[in-house]
């Protein structure tokens, strides 16, 4: 495929890998321990596994798979709310496909559908709005989910509904925002990270300036990375180069997509429709201040939480689940007590086993565990 194959060229990969190995030699800390780099975004995690990037890297680089899979970090209580909405008579509940399998405290949306709820998979919030247009006697609820990547399309859909005067459409808003979460990880006492690959598509919307505190306050390099395998290798090389040169900066490897100031139209739509919540609950990480958004009062009629009664109960993560420690890079997925035993992709306990973008599911599905666990020995 033109425009994609260039970013998957194995010869160039070998060349970048040689450069990476040379750079690692120049980083003093690498002599005593592996250099840990977190990719924040689930899309990167997916690419890393799909192309087998982790086992191409030198042993002294350890990739930590971050919290950037919005499906994974959704807490059980919110899934229970989805199920309650879906089971409300007259409701057509619409969702992105990979949210269907996320377990709630009693069931997933997939189970709710099997039991008779009208749950439909859509590929865009506009598809949900279209369902509302075509089913005027039903209430169509869209399950809004994701970081700043998917927030603009949801916001624009709400604005479109308002323009058309569609009254049977509403949004169950579970959008989350990445910056407070990165800050929460950086503030954690057991943090062991040397640098970050920043999320490409989120940054396309928010630009580079929101990351500056990571360099200024926490002294960690950030490289905004693309999703093709060569993008990822080059971004790792850029993080290592900063470490080798003793610099910290926010750099943009994904310049072909990410404008330094972000996307003004998207940001404007987000600001009109959404406002920060005081806090939002994350599976595996607990409550994080200002990490979620809700619909502003001006668009309250499109807010499913105001329109329907949702149980909104807080359900604690299963005790045996160690997703939080995996997310912070404190342990590797296979070190978790329930990895592959009680917690498996078909019956996930923890957030990271839920979606193919979750680190644990990715290891379970794609990982060569014998080799990786050997590499992880200090």
């Amino acid at each position: 495929m033109k425009y994609v194959d260039e970013f998957r060229d194995p010869q160039r990969a070998q060349w970048v890998l040689r450069e990476i190995e040379a750079l690692v030699e120049r980083i003093p800390a690498a002599r005593t321990r592996p250099i840990s780099i977190m990719e924040v975004c689930g899309g990167h995690t997916h690419s890393i596994f799909r192309y087998g990037i982790e086992n191409m890297l030198p042993d002294r680089i350890s990739l930590v798979h971050g919290p950037g899979c919005p499906v994974c970090v959704l807490p059980m209580g919110r899934v229970d709310d989805c199920v309650a909405l879906a089971e409300t008579p007259g409701v057509i509940f619409t969702t992105f496909g990979d949210a269907m399998r996320v377990p709630g405290s009693k069931k997933s949306l997939l189970t709710a559908r099997a039991e008779g709820a009208d749950v439909r998979m859509v590929y865009s919030p506009l598809d949900a709005l279209d369902l509302a247009r075509r089913n005027p006697s039903r209430e169509v609820v869209f399950f809004g989910l994701g970081f700043e990547t998917t927030m603009p399309s949801t916001a624009l859909t709400v604005l479109q509904a308002e323009r058309e005067g569609i009254t049977n459409f509403s949004l169950f808003c579970n959008h989350i925002t990445i910056i407070p979460t990165i800050k929460a990880i950086l503030d954690s006492p057991d943090l062991q990270l040397d640098g970050f690959l920043g999320p490409g598509h989120v940054s396309m919307v928010i630009g580079l300036s929101p990351y500056e505190f990571i360099a200024e306050v926490y002294r960690r390099p950030v490289v905004i990375a693309g999703f093709e395998p060569l993008d990822i290798l080059q971004s790792i090389w850029m993080v290592l180069k900063q470490l080798a040169e003793g610099r910290v900066a926010i750099e943009n490897q994904y310049g072909r997509i990410v404008p330094p100031r972000g996307n003004a139209v998207s940001l404007d739509a987000i600001q009109r429709v959404f406002e920060l919540r005081e806090f939002f609950e994350w599976r595996g990480l607990g409550s994080i201040d200002h990490s979620g958004v809700r619909i502003t009062a001006a668009y309250g009629q499109y807010d499913a939480e105001r329109r329907f009664s949702v149980p909104a109960l807080k359900i604690a993560d299963p005790k045996s689940c160690q997703c939080g420690e995996v997310l912070k890079g404190a342990i590797k997925p296979w070190d978790c007590k329930v990895f592959g035993t009680e917690c498996r992709p078909e019956t996930p306990l923890g957030a990271l086993m839920v979606s193919s973008e979750g680190a644990c599911a990715a290891y379970y599905q794609y990982g060569d565990l014998s080799k990786l666990s050997r590499r992880a020995q200090p």
Binding site: P10, R50, Y51, G52, I53, D98, M121, Y364, Y366, G367
Partner: protein, 355 residues
């Protein structure tokens, strides 16, 4: 008067209603009309003609073909009923023919059980039956007995078809998933994932317009060529639901071997690659209806490929991998990028990723 009434009574065998009703499954005249006008019009052969409750098949000619019967059954519930490159009727014939063929059997007879939803257009049913008859002719099999039921609207999705198939296996043929040995070559007969992508696309909810057509085809002839050129072939399986990834895992498990495949050697059409790229799907897990995996001894690989490529349904045949001693049950893919990853069984349904 009475003479003309008799004429009217005898004028049975024509369905005039535009849609299937519960009466068409009721066992009465409406059902007989449906059978005569829709099914018998297209399915004609000696075994079916007497319309007994069972097909009666002579043993002697079967014995001349081999030493074992192969018997298989499969149900077809695809939606939409018609899609680029095929329809549910064609699928119901070729799918069962292929299940026989990959066991090394020569497919001979099929049954046809249909469950119809009340309200289905008769014209649609006619189209499907015509397509089944054409597919059976193409595959050289006879549909020798059948059954029709009608269920109330909502109790099934338009129509479901079950076909069972009977074939005869040649005395020398011993194909088995457990017989693969380290060093064996793994072949496929052509581009992968076309059927799965065509169906997903035809459902229309992806709003993508691509020219992908189903690969739906009867495989017994190309398989016969393969078995003649490479009689030591260890194993064949059509890569239907779960795709090639699933078949490879089944082999690795049953033969207690490791399997390695090369991403660059795995034939995926440009449209299917693009389709998967956009939707976040893995083509290795997409269903095929005219593709199979063959495991042959290393020294027979060249002859097998040559034989496959001589047939239109095998002209895209390639070797995608090798059986290794390695770790039993594991399938590893060497990525074109230079890394490697495990190719595991699919968990649940393949759901598109959101971002």
């Amino acid at each position: 008067m009475s003479a003309s009434l008799d004429t009217v009574r005898r004028r049975s065998g024509t369905v005039r209603e535009p849609r299937v009703t519960l009466a068409h499954g009721g066992g009465g005249k409406a059902m007989h009309d449906l059978i005569e006008d829709v099914f018998l019009r297209h399915f004609t052969n000696e075994a079916l003609a007497p319309l007994e409750d069972q097909a009666r098949l002579d043993l002697a000619p079967l014995l001349a073909l081999g030493d074992r019967l192969a018997l298989t059954t499969d149900s077809y519930v695809v939606t939409p009923l018609f899609f680029p490159g095929g329809d549910i009727g064609k699928l119901a014939v070729y799918g069962t023919v292929n299940d026989l063929a990959v066991g090394g059997a020569r497919p001979l007879y099929l049954t046809c059980g249909m469950i119809l939803e009340e309200g289905l257009e008769i014209a649609t049913l006619r189209r499907v039956v015509e397509s089944m008859a054409a597919a059976a002719r193409e595959a050289g099999v006879q549909i020798v007995t059948g059954d029709t039921k009608v269920v109330p609207a909502g109790a099934c999705d338009k129509m479901f078809i079950n076909t069972a198939g009977v074939g005869v296996i040649d005395a020398g043929c011993r194909l088995s998933a457990a017989s693969c040995r380290p060093g064996d070559a793994i072949l496929v007969n052509g581009r992968l994932g076309d059927h799965g992508a065509a169906i997903l696309n035809a459902r229309g909810d992806m709003a993508l317009s691509t020219p992908i057509e189903s690969d739906c085809a009867p495989l017994h002839a190309v398989i016969a060529l393969l078995l003649e050129a490479a009689p030591g072939t260890r194993f064949l399986r059509d890569a239907t639901r779960g795709g090639v990834a699933t078949v490879l895992n089944e082999i690795a498990e049953a033969s207690r071997v490791e399997i390695t495949i090369e991403e660059d050697a795995t034939p995926i059409g440009a449209e299917v690659r693009g389709f998967c790229e956009i939707l976040g799907l893995d083509p290795l897990y997409l269903a095929n209806e005219g593709r199979f995996v063959a495991v042959v001894p290393e020294d027979a690989a060249a002859a097998a490929l040559e034989a496959l490529r001589a047939h239109p349904l095998g002209k895209g045949a390639v070797r995608i991998g090798t059986v290794l001693e390695g770790r039993a049950g594991r399938v590893v893919m060497h990525t074109g990028f230079g890394g490697h990853r495990i190719v595991d069984m699919l968990v649940g349904e393949q759901l598109p990723r959101i971002c």
